[in-house]
Amino acid sequence: MDKLQKMIKGAVKNTYSYRGLLKQLVTRDLKLKYRRSVLGYLWSVLNPLLTMLIMTIVFSHMFRFQIVNYPVYLLCGNIIFGVFSSTTIKSCHAVLDNAALIKKVYLPKYIFVFSRVTSGFVDFLFSFAALIFVLLITKSKFSLYNLLFFIPCIEIYLFSLGMSLFLAQANVFFRDIQYLYGVFCTALNYLCVLFYPIEALPTNVRFFVENFNPIYLYITMFRQCVHLNVLISPQMVLRGLLWALCMFVFGIFCFKRSQEKFILYI
């Protein structure tokens, strides 16, 4: 236990000493993303908004699901799923893209994954502007429960970080991972109950989604506090935390075990 404590302390200290680099890498990602576009950062807000608009038009006329305040329901799911899929897909290349740097300077390699996930989350925070806009337009009620939105956000951040660490290191050794994972994300998209109500799923699929899909769990929590205006169920918070911590530890373990071999494969 003492050893573990020391290890964690060391890791935190190490990360803290590289905060300058982390900040630079995150700003680089954000700056380059919208460089030379006229609207710039506004796209981080417009993108989810326009996607939601299209999906609302398509699904509320074609399928007619019985969901109150459908635009908010849709947007909640979309931005949570979006941040997970975009950060993890981008992180697949995190180590490979920085090969030139890794070969020439000694740096902790997790920093590249860490910075990609973090810049993805900064982007995600921008999209909150879109959410607030839609909440106002649809005349949704606000309450103190809304303020609990940070709980699912922190949990999915940890979960994405763990997943990204795993993917980034696996992709160094097997480049197939990036393509495989892209397909996996498409499948996951349909299993996250983004644009339909959970009741629409057949019983056995529904059981699976409710119990073994952490992303759905985070989306549900987020919807509870933003869309339904109720207290997040504590049991869900715990389950979400457990998923996040397990993924995080698993990701770190895999990454740590293989990071010294990266240089031979990049």
Partner: protein
């Protein structure tokens, strides 16, 4: 004078092994097929074979040898980029690796942004970089081009900027790998002067160059590497003379 006797770099019997990438497996399917056929043979290639030497504080060492003799590998091992599979390397103090100038430069970003990015890669803080910003820009002579994306820089200009950033701090150990080959004559002189300044300030220098003259001029001691083995170690003049005769 006790401080001068302090060992700052200790390299003990270091072996580095590479997989020769003749049949590198980077696809799952290939991997499974090869595994089934028992073809997962890794052809080992030893880049360094038992290198041992010690560097005292403030010394300047040159490393000479033909292409592929393991010079860069040795420097990378000392900077901590490569891990030896046998033996060990002990370092005291901060290392400024100039394995390649401007490692971590991003072509899409401007020179101004790259100074901060590259500086952070080398472990400086933002406040420190702000303080030294003018000094870096003046040394690199790029003031007019500060807001130009780096991809539009000539290689010499980028190298100047890289050198200026890397040497703006006084590191304990400066590692230079063939980095001055790109700059023009004037800039090479300027760099040499900067390195000499650092040396007289107590920095330890590890220097790889194909220019025997430069090694003789800059360094007191030298190592001659040949196919991963240490062929000779000693005074720079002697080693260089024998090397240039071979």
């Amino acid at each position: 004078m006790q401080l001068e006797e302090e060992l700052i770099v200790e390299v003990n019997n270091v072996f580095i092994q590479f997989n020769m990438a003749t049949e590198r497996v980077s696809h799952l399917k290939e991997y499974v097929i090869k595994l089934l056929k028992h073809q997962l043979l890794f052809q080992k290639f030893e880049a360094l074979k038992g290198i041992t030497f010690n560097v005292k504080k403030g010394e300047a060492w040159g490393i000479v040898g033909a292409n592929g003799s393991g010079k860069s590998t040795l420097l990378k091992t000392i900077s901590g980029i490569l891990k030896p599979y046998k033996g060990n390397v002990k370092i005291k103090g901060t290392v400024s690796p100039l394995i390649e100038l401007g490692a971590g430069f991003d072509g899409e970003m401007t020179a101004r942004e790259n100074i901060f990015l590259n500086g952070c890669v080398l472990g400086y803080t933002e406040e420190f970089l702000k303080e030294k910003f003018d000094e870096i820009v003046d040394f690199a002579e790029v003031r007019e081009f500060l807001d130009v994306p780096l991809k539009n820089f000539s290689s010499g200009m980028a190298a100047r900027l890289g050198f200026a950033i890397a040497t703006t701090v006084k590191p304990d150990i400066l590692i230079c790998d063939e980095v001055l080959a790109v700059g023009d004559f004037k800039f090479q002189e300027k760099c040499e002067k900067r390195m000499n300044d650092l040396l007289s300030g107590g920095t330890t220098l590890l220097f790889v160059s194909h220019s025997i003259e430069q090694v003789k001029r800059m360094c007191k001691k030298a190592i001659w590497l040949d196919h991963g083995e240490m062929k000779m170690i000693g005074e720079a003049d002697e080693v260089c003379d024998l090397y240039s005769k071979s």
